[in-house]
Assembly symmetry: C2
Homo-oligomer: 498 residues x 2
């Protein structure tokens, strides 16, 4: 029997995902080794050190090709000996790469990625390759004597093709990057041709919606994916570092929470997707009285998609003290605005033994933490947004991190709006709900871009479970307002008196 | 106008959530300070240092009561000066608390939590309080001269009541814990009475299902919540540390992936929950031909809950190289087994420029990482499971972390099963799918508890997109088998040839 060991990966380094140049692989020098050996000069203790072998090993003959096992991935986008500790990688990551690659000059590296552009000139071919680890491409410069040049000549390497490129890192002649890869060998993994729909010219988001399988390869969608990823991870990190327990509240539910929104029904009474498009309405089971026969549905009764995990989180908070949910939430409201989505991921922290001050402190600390995390870790992507998508976004986010949050009562907010020298579409009076125009006036104009927390709302416009204040008219609720958005976070202290 | 500042919380310390005693709060000594000042002897740099004040501050008069703002939560379950750096907290966390609290003897601390048991004796009352930060309770010992003893006498403090208790940490006379809290002051926050359904005696999980709002307060559900939380966070941490980008694949979808399972239909054609129970079948919109009129549904066509995020993750992997999904997934299969759930959270990593070896290495490294994380960080909860829920679980999981994973081909696995001196319910022959009994024989008996990866399955029993091997009969697919479970992880290399 041929049983071979699969040793744990040597997870030596953190990735350099935010470096200002493409992630790069050190060349494998010994194709007969299954476990990489080129990194022996690293001093970092591997997280999973290689184990002694205890079963007989059968190694099939291994060729030095891009997909052979000699190129075993090391779960690390940059694996050069120059970075000798996790610390160094971390600092490199923060600063956008040590000198943008200059410290790796002369090294033989491997890049795997997708062609963004290809320019054939008389003496040399320029290929911009991107692997999605960051916004910047790696410029690969190939002369006609390099191995694999016939593949360039074949015309199959166009925008969208995937490549394996090995070369030496040299100083770049161009002004856009400090280093480039002088290609020694190129292997085409997936070909492309000029019909590839996402070429260098800018395309509309409406067009990209029709090419959903390819749009992650654009600068915008790649940057959004990386920033969204950073926001999600920072969210978990913030709550975990502060002792909160993540609770996965049920998605399919029979409860309606506070009636937070219209619900989607989840059912198997209607046949599965293969036949749904032409299913007969009469095939839905009925009772004798003509009602839908829910006893024949999957759960034996009506079931819906959750509109909020709050009810579930509350039961855990009153057992584990501090918990949070972070999962998808659904609202069947047919409003096509930037504030309404049918499906979105929501974060719902619940704190026991806490009052409204604790709630506001938590919301403030959370927001500042995740925004700072993104500004620190996604600098290149944020610069891209600042230049191409929304000018001033970095300054606005820096304000959130650096400025003190203003706190005022709803009553004071109304007084402020009534005194404002501005005509609002929705009239202002004590008792009205604040509209986006009011919220944005408060945070953008009255407080010059400071995030503002408005607290103590009239009880009539808030949910039944919020704690009544001593004035008998308001409840311990708060909304956090930020420029350009308005309400970003809402919270409340629950009524504990019976 | 009264505008008050809400400074960012001083997130100074990591929580000591896995300590072997209850989380404890240092007493607030100055009730007139909004910002805690008792931790000035800490040398750790606060993550959010207090900002200079720039707006006029209106502080309402603050009383030293449990819910007043003077007890501003610091998002940290243990805040003692003894732990002077994050490093120390981290090491304390791993080892279950420094000497189980002995190093805090003599300190005045505050505990907030729920009463597990209360025993009134002639001279003294014992109250076991738990706040969910760990399995162990804090034993609070109260004599009749302590402040708040009248509340004990009132009989309202029974199992399930919530308390705020301040006291001095003293050596315990009991054998179950090294320290206990000598109560100086007790405040009842939420009362209870003997009808509270979860008393000290053991109750069945079937009974707890009928008390879903209270079961998080049991040892079992609390431990499950903490372990599940640790597994989820370790999952994110593993992939993030290795450069993967988290992708939130759509939950509501019109695609069926590989036909991985029966789908739930998501619709608003059936009225929302308030009226659903008695909705007339005839109210569902029909076309003239009697078909369901999907044009009137929320999305204008049939929509379903996702059975897999793979298709979406693949489009991102071919742009960002390494991605993973981690979100809820739904299967409308009416099988009531431990292997079937209607709703579950699934992790789907997708790696570009990777072969089956990379896939197996990733799966192995991931599994070993998360299991080790739980064994390291949830020791007390795992000991509880090992004693009360499933004996031997710690040894079995330690095997996963420490043993080498065996790797063998499907063909070799079949040969092994045919040679086995064992009668299987399902007959074995080349080409058959492996049943749980086969998988468990391989990992539990043939390889003595080692996790086993079986690879190169017949193409007929695997999905169409898996890469065909050179033999023309098998595909580059793998299943990871572990004792007691059977298949835990499945994966494959995709066919890239056209």
């Amino acid at each position: 029997m041929a049983a071979a060991l699969s040793p744990a990966s040597s997870l030596r380094l953190k990735p350099l995902s935010a470096a200002r140049f493409l992630s790069i692989y050190r060349r494998q020098t010994d194709p007969n080794k299954t476990i990489p050996t080129t990194l022996t000069n690293l001093t970092t203790k591997p997280r999973f050190p290689p184990k002694p072998l205890r079963y007989s090993i059968t190694l099939s003959s291994v060729k030095d090709s891009p997909l052979s096992s000699s190129n075993r991935r090391r779960f690390c986008t940059v694996v050069t000996g120059a970075l000798s500790s996790g610390e160094a990688v971390e600092s490199a990551k923060r600063e956008g790469g040590p000198d943008e690659g200059l410290d790796r000059l002369g090294q033989t590296l491997v890049v795997r990625g997708w062609v963004r552009t290809l320019r054939v000139q008389s003496s040399v071919t320029f290929i911009e390759v991107n692997d999605g680890s960051c916004l910047s491409n790696m410029q690969c410069v190939m002369s006609s004597d390099a191995e694999g040049y016939d593949q360039v000549e074949s015309g199959l390497i166009a925008t969208g093709a995937s490549l394996w490129v090995q070369g030496i890192l040299v100083p770049s002649q161009g002004s856009k990057q400090k280093v480039e890869l002088k290609v020694e060998k190129l292997v085409m993994i997936g070909r492309s041709d000029p019909s590839f729909p996402i070429q260098k010219k800018r395309v509309s988001r409406e067009f990209l919606r029709t090419k959903a399988h390819l749009r992650p390869r654009t600068n915008t969608f790649g940057a959004v994916a990386r920033v969204r990823n950073a926001l999600a991870y920072a969210t978990h990190k913030f709550f975990q570092d502060n002792g909160f327990v993540w609770v996965s509240s049920p998605i399919i539910t029979a409860s309606d929470c506070e009636g937070a929104g219209e619900q989607f029904c989840v059912t198997t009474l209607i046949p599965s997707s293969h036949e749904a498009a032409d299913s007969l309405a009469d095939s839905i089971p009925k009772t004798e009285d003509g009602f839908i026969d829910w006893s024949q549905d999957f759960f034996g009764k009506p079931a819906f998609l959750t509109v909020s995990g709050q009810l579930n989180a509350e039961t855990y908070a009153t057992a584990l003290t501090d918990v949070y949910t972070f999962g998808p939430t659904f609202r069947a409201e047919n409003s096509n605005t930037s504030r309404h989505l049918a499906e979105f991921w929501m974060i719902e922290p619940e704190l026991a033994f806490a009052d409204l001050n604790d709630d506001m402190t938590c919301a403030t600390a959370y927001l500042q933490y995740v925004v700072k995390y993104v500004l620190d870790n996604c600098k290149e992507d944020m610069d891209f947004f600042n230049t191409w998508i929304e000018k001033g976004i970095i300054n606005r986010l820096s304000d959130v991190v650096e400025k003190n949050f203003v706190q005022l009562t709803y009553t004071d907010a109304i007084a402020l709006l009534l005194r404002a020298n501005k005509k609002f579409e929705f009239p202002v009076e004590w008792g009205c709900d604040l509209q986006s125009e009011h919220e944005r006036y408060i945070t953008e104009e009255a407080f010059g871009g400071c995030p503002v927390i408005v607290r103590d709302y009239p009880k009539e416009i808030k949910a039944f479970y919020m704690r009544q204040n001593d004035d008998g008219k308001t409840v311990a609720a708060m909304d956090m307002l930020v420029p350009r958005v308005g309400e970003l976070i809402g919270g409340s202290q629950r009524e504990e008196r019976t």
